[in-house]
């Protein structure tokens, strides 16, 4: 068992892009180090250097003060370093048990994987998160059939299953609900007491202050600050990250009262789909309505069915007239847009250029043959209005950081000038700076009379930004929070389905 790992002056290039120019990190057994930075600052690269997924171009790694070289993930793993990957390292078609024990399967005398032992050991690991699962999680379930939060839990269990001395948690809480996060933090505290070292990569300030002992801040590939967490506050950290202090101040949109006069934009009655069991609500023009609740309570299906992406039953009225929105093309024609939850899979064509991504839903506008010059101008205008940082419109989207990539997803739909915007967790895995910009943008759009339906896994966001919040629980709207009842406490209570403090909808 090792006692410390130290990365010094690490340099890493991807092609022409310098991802890390001077990365430093010190981790000792028995402490939690928060690795913080805006998107694109090099956090993920830093963790990939420590766990051997990428080989560093400069600088050095010291394990117990002796230089080491990790040429592959195997090498780092042998040294007891485990990683919970942000993108998950699970094989979808394989079972929970097979995934957790991959490469370390217990074998019988004939060299076969011992199914009984593997099942039993998996059950033991699963019990660490007992009580936080929404489904009846079984070791023989294929991972592909699990909801995102349970996949994330399996990824965590997989990392700790070989009893490493060091665990890297890369955005491990992003898909978890509050109960699951609490359980994870209990486990982290236990690991810490057992003498494990934990590297915690996260965007969530509140979580960092809850569990971290130390912090290390990256900015543009450089470590710009490190120290004890007790010596710094949220503002101080943010300042280190972006050198701009006031990003958390976002004004709430125009007062709710003013909007009750407006005509109804969207009316939904008894909407049913896969995980939806009869949802009814209405939204007025210019409203910014939030959808809250624990993860996987039907929020995603609600947005997808409104956009005509999945089959649904029930009544949907748009601007007073009943409509059948299927396929999404119909919804788009009616002035709707959906910013999907998984930007890598659903929102963007990663290897294609920024221009193509911007224009994908809008090409029809540019005639035949395409008026490329006009398309380019419109795209760069949109890019500029979103403060998109890019080398040129011809660069592939894969060259952008998470926050900037999300701006492309937003921009691609804003170019169509939608009247009703559906957002599925648009700030997930986005740095604080971009978050603030997105908040401003949403407030501005509502001011222009656009209507927004906004699901977020970040309770603070919902409370700070929305006029109203509909809280989903198990496929129905459990409560509606508005005005003075819209507080974080009420939102969390309603999410857990334990109280009616917000008043029934």
């Amino acid at each position: 068992m090792s006692l410390s790992l130290s990365a010094q002056n690490v340099v890493k290039r991807y092609g022409g892009v310098l991802a890390l120019s001077d990365g430093n990190l010190d981790v000792h057994a028995g402490e939690v180090v928060a690795l913080i930075g805006a998107n694109g600052s090099g956090k993920s690269t830093m963790s990939k250097v420590i766990n051997g997924v990428v080989v560093l171009d400069g600088g050095r790694l010291l394990l117990d003060d002796k230089p080491v070289h990790f040429s592959s993930p195997q090498a780092a793993k042998k040294m007891g370093i485990a990683t919970v990957f942000q993108e998950l390292s699970l094989i979808p078609k394989m079972t929970v048990a097979e995934n957790i024990w991959l490469t370390r399967e217990p074998l019988n005398a004939l060299g076969q994987v011992d199914r009984k032992v593997i099942k039993q050991k998996t059950q033991q690991l699963l019990s660490l998160f007992e009580g936080t699962y929404k489904t009846d999680l079984h070791p023989d379930d294929p991972v592909a059939s699990l909801p995102p939060d349970e996949k994330q839990i399996i990824e965590i269990l997989k990392a700790i299953s070989f009893d490493p001395w060091m665990v890297i948690l890369d955005e491990a809480t992003a898909s978890l609900d509050s109960r699951q996060v609490n359980r994870l933090f209990e486990l982290v505290a236990r690991w810490k007491a057992d003498g494990k070292a934990i590297v915690f990569v996260s965007h969530r300030m509140e979580e960092i202050f809850r569990i971290a002992d130390k912090f290390s801040v990256l900015r543009n590939g450089k470590t710009v600050g490190a120290g004890e967490i007790k010596d710094i506050n949220e503002k101080g950290l943010v300042k280190l990250m972006i050198e701009k202090e006031s990003i958390f101040s976002f004004a709430r949109a125009a007062k709710v009262e003013e909007k009750t006069e407006k005509p109804i934009c969207l009316e939904v009655k008894d909407l049913r789909a896969d995980t939806l069991r009869g949802v009814s609500f209405s939204v007025r023009e210019g409203e910014l309505v939030g959808i809250g609740g624990l993860r996987g309570q039907g929020q995603r299906d609600l947005l997808l069915s409104l956009f005509g992406d999945i089959p649904y039953s029930g009544l949907v009225k748009l601007f007073g007239s009943e409509t059948r929105l299927r396929p999404p093309r119909e919804a788009m024609k009616k002035g709707m847009a959906l910013v999907p939850g998984d930007r890598a899979k659903e929102g963007l064509l990663y290897i294609r250029s920024i221009l193509e991504n911007f224009q994908l839903p809008s090409w029809a506008k540019y005639g035949f043959p395409l008026r490329i010059a006009k398309a380019k101008k419109d795209a760069s205008d949109t890019g500029a209005s979103l403060n998109l940082k890019m080398a040129s419109l011809n660069e592939p989207v894969s060259s952008l950081s998470g926050g900037n990539a999300q701006k492309v997803v937003l921009g691609k739909w804003l170019m169509r000038k939608p009247k009703l915007l559906l957002l599925d967790d648009p700030t997930k895995g986005v740095d604080v700076g971009t978050k603030a910009e997105i908040y401003d943008l949403l407030t501005k759009l509502c001011g222009e009379g656009k209507t927004i339906l906004f699901y977020s896994s970040d309770d603070e966001e919902l409370v700070g930004l929305c006029d109203r919040v509909l809280v989903l629980h198990d496929g129905v709207i459990r409560s509606e929070l508005t005005g003075s009842s819209l507080t974080k406490e009420n939102l969390i209570a309603a999410s857990l389905g334990v109280s009616n403090s917000g008043g029934e909808a």
């Binding site: 997924v53 993930p73 699970l90 094989i91 394989m94 097979e98 991959l102």
Partner: protein
């Protein structure tokens, strides 16, 4: 259970649909050829089917690992021409067995060349094996430009009419293949194979030796192709550098009919074996049905396309209904 869930069946038992196809084609064949299960007929059929079965098993392993091997026909041809030219009609059985071992080594070598390019140099599997298929096929032509040569009749007879316990030799080979697969798929190697084919990047991050596994699938495929080459030589008794031409695409078709995903990581070996038998039975059915030679390819292709499309069509209807 009132309503059997098709999707569940298909994902849990990938060999379920090929089994239906197999039973169906056996039934039709039996109708056209009532003595189908007589030992002579059965053995006569199975010894013809065996080469494709062997190649399909190798192909299945490659596809499971996320690759594809288009060079198997070339490997079959090399082995066939080596045996037919080096052993000869008047060769001794001892000489034959020596060259059988050499043939297997040649198959492993050819597979290693594929594996080296694909796993270590990270070239595209489809392009690489397409290229090496000409390399191997060309080499076979170099060994034996015109059809001819042969192997001792005694050895050929051994393959054609060995029927231990009144069952065709091929049945025992299939049983060995299935038993071996049953074992391999439950070992660590089996899990690695599914992991690499399922999502190579995630497997790499989990410290699975991805390149070694990819390399090994081509070696296995080369070995199986060599076995098939030996079988096909003993069946025909002579050499022909173009003998392997049809077997490549047939093996891929057999694997896909057998329920394995082209994208890798899903399926097994039982399905592809059934797929290979089905494919051969379809050929038989067509010749029994006295279909004009002109139409034969068209009819055969239509049956295969329908067979391949059926699961998709059933899925489509299921989606519509829900």
């Amino acid at each position: 259970m009132k309503r059997l869930n098709w999707n569940f069946l298909m994902s849990r038992y990938p060999a379920f649909f090929p089994l239906i196809l197999l039973v169906l084609s056996i039934a039709i064949n039996l109708f056209l050829q009532p003595n189908m299960f007589a030992l002579d007929t059965l053995n006569g059929n199975m010894r013809v089917f065996l080469p494709l079965i062997l190649v399909a098993v190798g192909q299945a392993i490659v596809l499971l690992g996320g690759g594809i091997d288009i060079s198997v026909g070339g490997i079959v041809a090399i082995v066939n021409t080596i045996l037919a030219t080096r052993v000869g009609l008047d060769g001794t059985p001892e000489k034959m067995w020596q060259f059988v071992i050499l043939s297997l080594l040649v198959g492993v070598l050819a597979g290693s060349i594929n594996g080296f390019f694909i796993a270590y140099l990270r070239l595209q599997p489809i392009i690489t094996t397409y290229a090496t298929s000409f390399l191997y096929g060309g080499f076979a032509l170099f060994i034996l430009p015109n059809p001819g040569g042969g192997i001792p009749a005694k050895v050929a007879e051994l393959y054609r009419s060995t029927t231990p316990l009144g069952l065709p030799l091929a049945f025992y080979v299939i049983a060995i293949l299935l038993g071996f697969w049953l074992y391999v798929s439950s070992t660590r190697y089996g899990k690695f194979l599914f992991a690499v084919g399922g999502k190579a990047e995630a497997a790499y991050e989990t410290a699975v030796p991805v390149t070694t596994i990819q390399f090994s699938t081509y070696v296995i495929s080369g070995f199986m192709a060599a076995l098939a080459g030996i079988a096909i030589t003993m069946l025909s008794g002579s050499g022909n550098a173009e003998i392997g031409n049809a077997i490549t695409l047939n093996s891929i078709t057999a694997v896909v009919i057998g329920g394995n995903a082209m994208s890798g990581g899903v399926g097994g070996v039982a399905g592809p074996i059934m797929g290979a038998i089905t494919l051969n039975l379809i050929q038989n059915i067509i010749s029994f049905a006295h279909i004009d030679t002109w139409w034969e390819t068209l009819v055969k292709a239509t049956i295969i396309v329908v067979a391949l499309a059926t699961p998709g069509v059933i899925n489509l209807f299921q989606r519509r209904r829900s």
